[in-house]
Amino acid sequence: MTLKKINSILRAIVLVACVIAVGDEVFGQTYSPLFPPNSNQPGVAYCRYSNGSRVPYCFMRLFTVVYLYTNGHFHDDDLHPWSSVTPTQGTSDGAGNLYITIHTTRVGQAELLGVEDVYAGLFGWAGYAVGYGDIYWNDHPELWDRVGGTDTGADTGHGSSAYNHWMEINAAWGIYYTVLDYQAAYPEQARFCMNDMALPFGGKFDILQNWNSPHAEHDRGKAVDVGDASAGQCNATNGIPLNKKGEFRQKCIDRGAIAARSFIEPGHVHCGWGLQ
């Protein structure tokens, strides 16, 4: 059976489960708990009586569900990955515990864990999301124009430039001071073209809309692409002159960016403050 078919079946199962189940955990403005990408999160599933007391030796089934179109992923296909849970079924021990682990993927998004008490035919739910908790909105309209979204003519499947300008706090200060340093050296550079940083909760920033790299440097929220004069999307005078790209990269490094993670690339300078 192909992975595509398995995913289709999973989606069908999820649809049925969603219709018949009543859930517990929801979140509004925040995703909590928020689990890091590519991590293993332990927990316990248990059955209970209506008075809350545990049911030992209870057979349960477990599964995960993904919420579509969260964290700026406005694309979807049959290969859409989301976290798995192990085991997918099992019987609790004499104390009522069925030890489980959620295995997150590298995709940041909102998800849901479902547990079925098979004997009772009842479902319980626990909401969670995958992503990083230390990523923040990073925009300085007085210094730069945001590009890289549908509002500036680029469509990576991640919406407007409201979704690709999120950054880890140290890296955010790093690029801010880099821009100021560069402006101090070249006052004629009034503004800059700021392209991809990270998605709001980080995780895979799949610009090819296939849940994969390239662009892995942007998954952690510690990298930014600063457009050059050839980049388009914003006024060419706001791009870094082609002959100054090396100097801009060096100023990033002077502000803490890692040399091995900072590159001169076609259309932009990529400054990176780390992958972890």
Binding site: Q29, T30, V44, Y46, R54, Y67, L122, D139
Partner: protein
Amino acid sequence: MKQNAIHALIVAAFLASLCLGQERGKPAISPVPLWPQDGNIPDSMKNQAVFFNPETNEIVVSVPDAAGGRKTLRFELRNQAEAVVRSQVSKLPSGLYVYEYTVGAGNNSKRPLKAWSLLIPGDDRQFNASSPAAWRVEQKATQMVDRLAVRHAPLKFIDYSVTAGAGLGKGASASGFRLVSGYLPGYVSSFARNEAKTEISPEQLATLPKAVADEVLRVTAPEWDSQMGLVVGPRFAPGTPREMIAESFHYVISSFSMRGLLDKKSDFVAPALQALGSYLKSGKGAPLSPDQLSFLSSAQTPLEREIADAMRLSLLANP
């Protein structure tokens, strides 16, 4: 061997009698293992310090003490009260929005509802909150931010708590919870709590090893220590991109559908998810036309109408 079999049979019969005698509740997830019912931590779990006791709804913290034994702390979670919230939103000529709530204790409440909180934007300068008699309201800043915003959008708690009486018992309600805000309506997190008989103090927490204290903080996060819900409240600053507002409503409708609060096959839900999904996938971010939002007029149930009203104010009337 024969003795073991008889023993197992007796245990199985006992468990079966329990099963037959008691109604099952929904299964649940705990971030920590369940506390052994006999109070003896098995050798395989000696390194585990934080447990949950479902019979008493307590977090049990057990750490080695200086005398070679174990020190045990117990404190209750406050998630035994369910809030049923009715909301009403109106827009004043000044452009401000008025959010009014009636809060009741739901049928699933096992304890009286003593406190009710909303998580709302912390940077709304026009914000004002008032409470009914016998309730007080407090505002508490948080470290949390809303990431459906094109600004650094800090969040704060609006905490309502009972000042007199036992709180709201099952079926009782109170009205007069009122917020005035410049922010457009969306769904915000709400938290209902009962009073705990025992709570862990900051001093007790400070005596625990850091890893244990961190785990205690994890299991007392709002998602475990309260009954969470989604309520219409001030959410979006003027100027918030429509795609972010649409993403939020798509999530809310999906979540309510999964929880069985909305009928996925209704004339409102399926077209709403289809229209919002198409809009988000298009990536255009342009204003949504009345045609794209034609499903709003199909809202039938009270919850569907509540969602539709909020969407009209945030997505249609928002220039």
